[in-house]
Amino acid sequence: MKKWKKKEIESKPKFKTLNIDGTCYKTNLISKFENRKKYTVPDAKKIISVIPGTIMKVFVKEGQKVKRGDNIMILEAMKMQNRIKSPRPGVIKSLKVKEGEKIAKGVLMMELE
């Protein structure tokens, strides 16, 4: 029985390769591993929602100059009105959300130039 099984492992191409410390192992991958989020370097010019919620108010317009700490919008989440402030000085390149819009976590809300 075992001999048959060994043969099966060698002949079946279904195994994937996993590189651990320079060695490539034949193995099965699981969906949690395959669906894992690839890391991307955060872009300081992009303002992304850290919590899902509703945009209650937008204080700025596209093309407007902002200072660091200026109020940009209010994102209501978990019964709290969170003020989103500009993390740096700059010009608003584009606004991606409207007042009253419900957004998820990780959504691009605004881009600075």
């Binding site: 029985m1 075992k2 001999k3 099984k5 060994k6 492992i9 060698e10 195994f15 996993l18 651990i20 410390d21 320079g22 060695t23 490539c24 192992y25 034949k26 193995t27 099965n28 991958l29 699981i30 949690k32 591993f33 894992r36 989020k37 890391y39 899902p52 919620g53 978990m78 419900k102 957004i103 998820a104």
Partner: protein, 514 residues
């Protein structure tokens, strides 16, 4: 005769209450593919062993017209019985009575049977099928949950606690199962979540079905909240009964011994593990090659399957097995697998079950997602659990044991009682490829043919270090053994560990990396 009349009255009262929420509600329960609370208990327990208590308990709620409502048994059935002769305390929420909602008296019935289980040192089984808190009873129902959670914690590690999710189990109610040792779920019937799909939709605008949010598959494959997955309630009861045979009634006993049996002949232990450390195989075959009748009762089969945990018997005695699984993710340790194994080790330790560990792993999983998910803290759970455990701890290194993974998998350094290695074992800081690249970087880079030199150096390293003898020469391994000898030596090791004493320093409790 006055007594006869009174007996007849009792029978009438019983009959009424035993109908639970009445015919209509029972019909609805059946139409959902579910059994009723009392049917479940009868299916699960030994024939004629069940005795029910608190049949005539009634709620005392007065607000919101509750005083006009009669809720039979207040929506929960409690009692004692047996599974294969093992004494059992059990409660089952009755969804046909007010949706199994938890009010004060409902919770008092549950805590009564919990107190009994703890006092009498017998296993507790809870069947959950409830819409949640009985809103009309307000803070009283919250108090009820709290009293249950406290008792779950108090009983943890003293008596076995088993939760069976046979319906909805939502909101605060989920924390009682989460505090217990083993959670059983059934496809299409079990639903567990803190906030349901409706709340998620209104608050966050995300749409998801109950099944996708907290169904049986989700909890047995993604979250790891459930330990056993079944296709039907009946299959689930069979799993519970089997589990009961492997575990002791309480922490001052040992699990019952069964008649010893030899492993089945078709599991040829010499032929399971391929020579090439990069080739996969199913480590469960190694376990089956040494257990009585080649039976292995796996726990959390579908979650973090890069590590295998479960029970088997050797010479009739229950053993807890922990094994890296080269078939999945090459058997690496990561956040989930460390978490899974660590909790199982603590379970075995609490209930006097010796632990046998099979090692074949390339190390810890590299990656940003793992680092950011806290693989340091979660990985440390495994070190903590092995170090802390005082039951007999035996290790067999089948093939690779690299780096931190070697240390974590019940090494001598964490006070394994016996460490054996098969002749093909490779105990090293890392795999030959990685090690050669670092140690011989200059020679490789400086050569005219780096690939050739790299291969040469990898071979050099392999020949020198990819074996069990370096570790054996330092006494880190007690014995290099033939695979054939594994069962015999493990049995001997358990035999000589019977009177193991390993008292550590006095403390209230440690601070594990929860």
């Amino acid at each position: 005769m006055a007594l006869k009349r009174k007996i007849r009255e009792l029978q009438k009262r019983r009959e009424k209450v035993l109908k639970g929420g009445g015919d209509k509600a029972i019909e609805k329960q059946i139409s959902m593919g579910k059994l009723t609370a009392r049917e479940r208990i009868i299916f699960l327990l030994d024939d004629d062993s069940f005795n029910e208590y608190d049949l005539f308990v009634e709620h005392e709620a007065r607000d919101f017209d509750m005083d006009k409502k009669v809720l039979h048994g207040d929506g929960v059935v409690i009692g004692t019985g047996a599974i294969y002769g093992a004494p059992i305390c059990i409660f089952a929420q009755d969804f046909t009575v007010a949706g199994g909602s938890l009010g004060l008296m409902h919770s008092r019935k549950i805590t009564k049977i919990m107190d009994h289980a703890l006092k009498m040192r017998m296993p507790l089984i809870g069947i959950n099928d409830s819409g949640g808190a009985r809103i009309q009873e307000g803070v009283n129902s919250l108090a009820g949950y709290g009293e249950i959670f406290f008792r779950n914690t108090l009983a943890s590690g003293v008596i076995p606690q088993i939760s069976v999710i046979l319906g909805p189990c939502a909101g605060g109610a989920v924390y009682s199962p989460a505090l217990t040792d083993f959670v059983f779920v059934v496809d299409k019937i079990s639903k567990m979540f803190i906030t349901g799909p409706e709340v998620i939709k209104t608050v966050l605008g995300e749409e998801i079905s109950m099944e996708d949010l907290g169904g049986a598959k989700v909890h047995s494959e993604i979250t790891g909240n459930a330990h056993f997955y079944a296709e039907s309630e009946v299959q689930c009861f069979e799993q519970i009964k089997e589990l009961i045979t492997y575990i002791p009634w309480n922490n001052s006993r040992k699990a019952r011994a069964f008649e010893p049996k030899d492993p089945k002949k078709e599991y040829k232990i010499d032929d399971i593990v391929p020579d090439n450390p990069k080739q996969p195989y199913d480590v469960r075959d190694v376990i089956k090659a040494i257990t009585d009748d080649s039976v292995f009762f796996e726990v959390q089969e579908r979650w973090a399957s890069n590590i295998v945990i479960g029970f088997g018997r050797m010479e009739g005695q229950t053993i807890g097995f922990v094994a890296n699984q080269p078939l999945v993710l090459a058997g690496v340790l990561d956040v989930d697998s460390s978490d899974k194994a660590a909790r199982f080790i603590r379970y075995c330790d609490a209930f006097n079950i010796p632990i046998v560990t099979f090692v074949d792993l390339p190390g810890y999983m590299p990656g940003v997602d793992q680092e950011h998910a806290g693989v340091i803290r979660h990985g440390a759970k495994l070190l903590y659990a092995y170090s802390e455990a005082t039951v007999p701890k035996l290790t067999v290194i089948l093939r690779k044991a690299y780096g931190g993974g070697y240390i974590a998998m019940n090494s001598r350094h964490l006070r394994a009682d016996f460490v054996f290695a098969w002749p093909g074992a490779e105990i090293a800081v890392m795999g030959p490829e990685g090690a050669a690249n670092i140690i011989f970087r200059r020679e490789i880079m400086g050569s005219d043919d780096p690939e050739k030199i790299r291969k040469q150096k990898v071979k050099e390293y392999k020949d020198k270090f990819a074996n069990p003898y370096v570790a054996a020469s330092k006494g880190y391994i007690d014995s290099v053994i033939e695979p054939q000898e594994t069962r015999k030596l493990l049995l001997h090791a358990i035999e000589v560990s019977q009177n193991k004493s390993s008292a550590g320093p006095k403390k209230k409790h440690g601070i594990p990396p929860f």
